[in-house]
Symmetry: C2
Subunit: 223 residues, 2 copies
DNA sequence: CAAGAAAAGTGCGTGCACGCAAGTTTGCGT
DNA sequence: ACGCAAACTTGCGTGCACGCACTTTTCTTG
């Protein structure tokens, strides 16, 4: 239904896409990310520079896409996979944590270099954080299905809030990963969080949203 | 404390900034937004093109800044102005509605042309929507103060969620304003929302977040 | 299977974002 | 009042995003 024959044309497109982002990441790691021009990436992937940004709107996007793979879709699938009985808030939280700790496939090798890239170059860091917004559409779909919400913005708002929370968690994590040792002070006499692990940060960021999910879920039961 | 003497240098900077965004909007309205080059805006404001993007990172940003003025800061102030007794969720909602319906100052004149610009040109629409993210930092500050949260991400997550909700509301509003008449169908047999007014859309988008605010507020009372 | 429609790739031209290294203005200390 | 240091502006050069028109490839239909 979704992919009767995946289509031959479509496969080529996906192949080109992967070749591009793969080349982009590889080149960015071995030379510095500044010493990679679009022309180089395109050449390494065997396409014209013009074709390159038929696929990616910016140079950073290509590199980030290699790191991210298709995590967005996976999160949505992971949520859908949970049994319908569990709290929606828990399903989402666990799905997110699961997909964001499971970095790539079996690519622990280059992970060091990649992480260094993201923490060092601001442009890449920003692009990476912006990429988290991509989970919104698929997440909206699964949430809307559970809530059965027709034309009200609840599902979208919740999905977007999750995306924002994930972004915040990643932002803090990258920052702490960059500056070695514990983080600084906040000024109001309160201690800042002492650099938690990524799963911890994700849970902490998503926790405040749980009541909103509960309330939304409750409404669908009543109606 | 915040502005003992505002400083003379700073005033010039603000003047230039305003001159730029003013020129950008004016030119964009009278000619089409595509027939305005950065060079033109810079010339109209009496600075070099290079200086232009010491102030704005993109051409769209300047135009949008003129429409937005400093709405971000105003929302935060409006929240802070509410008495401490009211629900935080209500304070935020009302502040947002208040500041987003009160478009500019007394500039009802060009509002038509401006709105047309935003609905027509996609690049401008996107820039305008992205600008809503700017409310996050000041909102985080006021929320954090009310919650007294030191190093936990709750305030930031809530602020970011509000920004996302506002963005969604504006997005839907602009879309409906573009296509004359009522909006289309969603496919799942459910009717989509029949094009509400902007305040209605804002309230509808913010409503799902109220339980999260309540829960956060409850925690600060207990502790 | 052939012909045409749809979609992807490509070359070219234009305006833009931004780093860098001057030149110029503003503010402060003595 | 004078001069120094920091902040702001500017000219220049490079690489990039993207519209447009055109070629090549893939899918569909009679």
């Amino acid at each position: 239904m979704t992919t009767p024959p995946p289509g031959l044309r479509e496969r080529k497109k996906q192949a080109t896409r992967e070749a591009l982002r793969e080349a982009a990441l590889r080149l960015a790691v071995e030379r510095g990310p500044d010493r990679v021009r679009v022309e180089d990436i395109a050449e390494a992937a065997g396409v014209s520079p013009r074709t390159y940004n038929n696929y990616f709107a910016s140079r950073e996007q290509a590199i980030v896409a290699a790191v991210t793979a298709d995590r967005e879709a996976r999160v949505a699938e992971a949520v859908a996979a949970r049994p319908a009985g569990v709290r929606l808030a828990d399903a989402v939280t666990e799905a997110v944590v699961e997909q964001y700790t499971h970095t790539g496939e079996g690519e622990r090798e280059r992970e060091r270099g990649t992480l260094l890239l993201l923490t060092t170059r601001t442009a890449l860091r920003d692009a990476f954080l912006d990429a988290t917004a991509g989970i919104e559409p698929p997440l909206t779909a699964v949430i809307a299905e559970r809530l059965g919400s027709a034309g009200d913005p609840t599902a979208r708002v919740l999905a977007a809030s999750v995306a924002a929370a994930v972004r915040i968690a990643l932002e803090g994590w990258l920052q702490s990963a960059g500056s070695s040792g514990t983080a600084g002070s906040s000024g109001a006499g309160g201690l800042v969080v002492p650099t938690g692990s990524l799963p911890d940060r994700l849970r902490a960021a998503l926790a405040p949203l749980a009541p909103a999910f509960d309330a939304a879920e409750r409404r669908v039961v009543q109606s």
